[in-house]
Symmetry: C2
Subunit: 620 residues, 2 copies
């Protein structure tokens, strides 16, 4: 099988936001993550040489970190051929495969550190989670290189897992505490055509939360109230609200969509959609962040979205992007693209520095001297973490940005996020030009034509737009937020889309107590923030926007060339009194503010930052 056959379409980004991040991912993020994996012993661990009494025992989640970097290398090779990286990947694959046991099992910790504990605590330990990431890496490796050696090893592992888990006597009716393997098994099924992997994914999803509860049965110290953290409090088809550990949740929901699509299970798909609606309409930050508390890295309650103690883990945003993308592909409804886009341009990118080697684990929406709870790790990105899921997730997330922007089939091209790109497959070559997301004027040019449907999304944030086909105003009928043009496209055909993109004051739902009296600035898909480096001497919590601010676009120093800053005049409250509590109100004076895209904050040294800013109430 050649690479061309494996890849139905190639999507090469050339915009000013995603494309540089992908280059950084190739040049910096993957090499630095590999280096950290090597330095911390994560790579050498696969040599299985650790012995009792040795320092630095391989941790239960180490395999997943390495797997995600490998997946990232493979994904990167698909958009950026690099023989040196391909060689390194090949050697790493050999090392990993060499750690596989005769029965197919492959997990470093439970091979060398606690071999007697294999599958004994599915809730807290990460065996099936690690297996899932290894499977995802193997599928990506196969797709990128055509080599089947990693894929086949993972098929043996999956076959072994299928022998250990299932409804038959002697099998475990368990499922992972940290979901991930479900979606990975569907990928394996799609790559191999072997339905038994789909069946295993379906088994894990069907068993989850069923009575008698496997976790309660096997973990004596577990209380029923701890089950929601693992999304195991009831069968997934009955779950109404996004609960528990946010990364686990969205990985599960991805697997639910995948299994639903492959089995035609509409009840399962409905459950996934219901959970998405709850999550996106009640439990999501304006930045696309989810999981608002560090306690359990979890969802809390509807409208429980504190800014200065937000968790909004980078991995959860990445997982939400994958979840939204899946529902978008299934339903073709713009509301999923709206969330996908919100995540990609905001929390999805805030987690990684522009240089590409420093990472936020938590993505706060307000940071100042008093927001100490998360400590320095949330005020300043870190090179690496003891639990380094976020850095390694970026290794695989960045090369997939193009895939997340559109869907290219033989008979259709759906452009969800019109970042500048070249899209080609057997049927057509298409060019997207423009400076999205900083400009709303987009040109889609057919470089090599054919008969297909072009579907252009009109973003939810856009109130006014127009579209022309070869200079002639086109019909503006929308289907679930998509403008569809079906024709025999000729080379040189041009569709020009004008999306009015102006700074807007965005008001949160009044039930979000943490945001009461505040609003955020958004332009296009970009959520903006005040960073103190652009607003020296201004006390961000004391800024008050006018109810109708007069915005001006501008530049922000020290950020990438194309970055659009937003300026406006506002009020700031100050006081001449130094008393902690007093009966004199603060005084207001004028202040000029500069907002920058949220995703770019903390790239110019340590700073205070605020997304939601006080706004003058409307007159009643």
């Amino acid at each position: 099988m050649t690479k061309d056959k494996i890849h139905s379409a190639q999507i090469l980004l050339c915009d000013s936001v995603f494309a540089p991040r992908q280059k950084t991912g190739h040049d910096v993020t993957i090499p630095s993550s590999l280096k950290c994996c090597r330095e911390t012993g994560r790579i050498d661990a696969f040599r299985l040489q650790w012995k009792k009494g040795d320092p630095n025992p391989p941790h239960v989640f180490w395999d997943s970190d390495v797997a995600k970097v490998l997946e990232g290398m493979a994904e990167m090779l698909m958009i950026h051929p690099d023989p040196a990286m391909e060689k390194e990947l090949d050697e790493l694959v050999d090392l990993i495969v060499s750690a596989q046991q005769d029965d197919g099992y492959l997990n470093v910790h439970f091979t060398v550190v606690e071999p007697e504990k294999r599958w004994s605590n599915l809730g807290d330990w990460h065996e099936l989670y690690c297996a899932g990431h290894l499977i995802e890496a193997a599928v990506a490796h196969f797709q990128a290189t055509g080599s089947r050696k990693f894929l086949e090893a993972m098929c043996r592992y999956a076959d072994y897992i299928a022998s250990a888990f299932g409804p038959a006597p002697g099998q475990k009716r368990g499922y992972p505490g940290h979901e991930e393997i479900e979606l990975a098994l569907v990928k394996l099924y799609r790559a191999t055509g072997e339905k038994r992997y789909l069946n295993l994914a379906k088994f894990f999803i069907d068993e989850r939360g069923a009575a008698p509860n496997y976790f309660l049965e096997t973990e004596k110290s577990l209380a029923p109230e701890q089950l929601p953290n693992r999304q195991a409090h009831k069968p997934v088809r009955e779950q109404e609200q996004a609960v528990g550990h946010a990364v686990r949740a969205v990985y599960l929901y991805c697997g639910m969509v995948d299994v639903a699509v492959e089995t035609g299970d509409s009840t399962l798909l409905d459950a996934a959609i219901r959970l998405f609606d709850n999550l996106s309409q009640r439990r999501m930050y304006i930045t696309g962040g989810i999981g608002s508390t560090s306690i359990g890295e979890a969802f809390t309650v509807d409208f429980g979205l504190p800014n200065d103690t937000a968790y909004a883990e980078s991995c959860a945003a990445i997982g939400l992007a994958f979840f939204a993308k899946r529902l978008l592909d299934v339903t073709k409804e713009g509301k999923y693209a709206d969330v996908l886009e919100r995540v990609l341009y905001n929390n999805g990118l805030s987690g990684i520095s522009l240089i590409g080697d420093e990472f936020f684990y938590a993505n706060l929406l307000e940071v100042n001297d008093a927001t100490h709870e998360h400590g320095v790790t949330c005020k300043k990105r870190q090179k690496w973490f003891g639990c380094s899921c976020c850095p390694t997730n970026y290794c695989r997330f960045l090369p997939q940005l193009g895939m997340l922007c559109c869907k290219a089939g033989e008979k259709y091209l759906r452009i969800d996020i019109p970042a500048a790109a070249r899209i080609s497959n057997d049927a057509y070559d298409v060019r997207i030009d423009g400076n999205y997301p900083y400009d709303g004027n987009i040109t889609v040019t057919i470089a090599r034509g054919g008969a297909f449907t072009l579907a252009l999304r009109i973003p939810g944030w856009c109130a006014n737009w127009s579209v022309e086909l070869n200079g002639v105003a086109a019909d503006k009928v929308l289907e679930a937020s998509y403008l569809k043009m079906t024709r025999e496209w000729k080379s040189g055909d041009r569709v020009t889309l004008k999306l009015e993109m102006k700074p807007e004051v965005i008001y949160p739902h009044p039930e979000i107590a943490a945001d009461a009296g505040k609003a955020a600035i958004q332009r296009g898909p970009l959520v903006y923030c005040l960073e103190s480096v652009d607003n020296p001497g201004v006390s961000l919590p004391n800024v008050i926007l006018p109810s109708v601010p007069e915005f001006h676009l501008g530049k922000a120093s020290g950020l990438p060339e194309d970055t659009v800053a937003i300026r406006c005049r506002a009020k700031e409250e100050t006081s001449s009194s130094d008393a902690l509590y007093r009966n004199t109100p603060p005084e207001c004076h004028d202040v000029d503010l500069c907002f920058i895209p949220y995703a770019l904050w903390q790239n110019r040294g340590e700073s205070s930052m605020q997304v939601f800013v006080r706004v003058t109430p409307e007159k009643s």
Copy 2:
């Protein structure tokens, strides 16, 4: 020695706030705490019958809980003779004294559970802390009953501690991780006249934070950055900011003042004053709460005072009251009485239910559906806690309220908080009448006269006041906020004080990010709050006070008769949209609000609550 000799003055409260709490303390809080102590095994533990393998091993801090209840019983007997309680106390004292070892040591855990670990971890375990509370209980028992049996046992214990700790070879140069024994030893010195107890207190205070650091020397796993949590990062005389565990901190500061007073050490007193200033002007809630984070139950940074994740432990407020009272007695400056009064009427009483048997550990300033972090324990008072320091602290705090309101000597009577009371000693009988803190008109009547100085505090919250002596306007010269009248008082002499007491909008320092745009309502010393039970259907975070509210006094249903509620008209923001984020501002409509004293919230079922409320900004 008779009781009369031991007590230089008797202060019997008869106001409508403190006196009922004292009655509740006697009738409910002490009996229910004793019951919990019995039911949890804390009392029986002193029989020393626990054996390895038995369930429910006595915990390192159990002794302190029992000691505080005993101290409370003794303090209660001083204001409320009760032969049954006196008998029960006597039996408990016998039981406790029976647990004393031959060498004088008295600690249940380290006698029956881990005898080999005596004094081996001063930082984390609570031996010296428990010893301190036992000593305080013994002193109170002696003062209340004249019996020396508990006192003498504690002298033997203190003598043993003095043999174990000190600068001589073979002695430990350590000091407690949880301060308390310092102030207790000064009490023991004052009760016995034995200077060696003062010397031991001074030793613990002088050694604290000295190099080489005892904790770092003896706890291998301890990092230097953990020292501030124990106030052991530098010698106490060099400490500039209130840091670390708030209860430990204020107990230490109390001991510092006590030692400074008894030794004439002005450097030590200056340090305590400096720490008080930092604490009260930078790190204290408007309710008098301190220690703003649950992480380490600690102070954070200047102006770091979040409302919905406040910790503000009840014990810390009680400790702050004791600290402020000490500095007030030393300096006679009104600023200490202002803080003392703020604590007593707000966080000091919010920690306990009106019924007297339920307690807040943390005293939040904002609670709503989204403030889940602390869980139910902060939305609803609890009967008891695993670590039950707060309930047992109330046992001893409530009977001392009178002592905290004034200072009565032979030649002076200083009235710091003019709650209605009868104050008598050898030199005079004085009656304070009025309905303070709900009314600012106070009459001080001399029932039995003599030559002494009457010092009346003019509270910091009061801008307008007048005073009359026997109906004639008196001189208004203040000394550190006190109006002093020295004369030969005759029976029937009356001083009438009128303190203008109106609802005021209190603005926090602009650097308190959590309060930006918000203000609190205060009347006299009482901080008010909105509780949803009084404001049904109103979304408290969306309330906006006018910049000049028109307040009306009124009643609140379901609260004690005298309670003054405050009503005003304000705006509430609502929205017809249910979208999580939208570009349409909320609409404002009028709403009538009812504020109640903060200390009384959550006495009428579960409810949302908010102290700081949004306020319309001033025009610039």
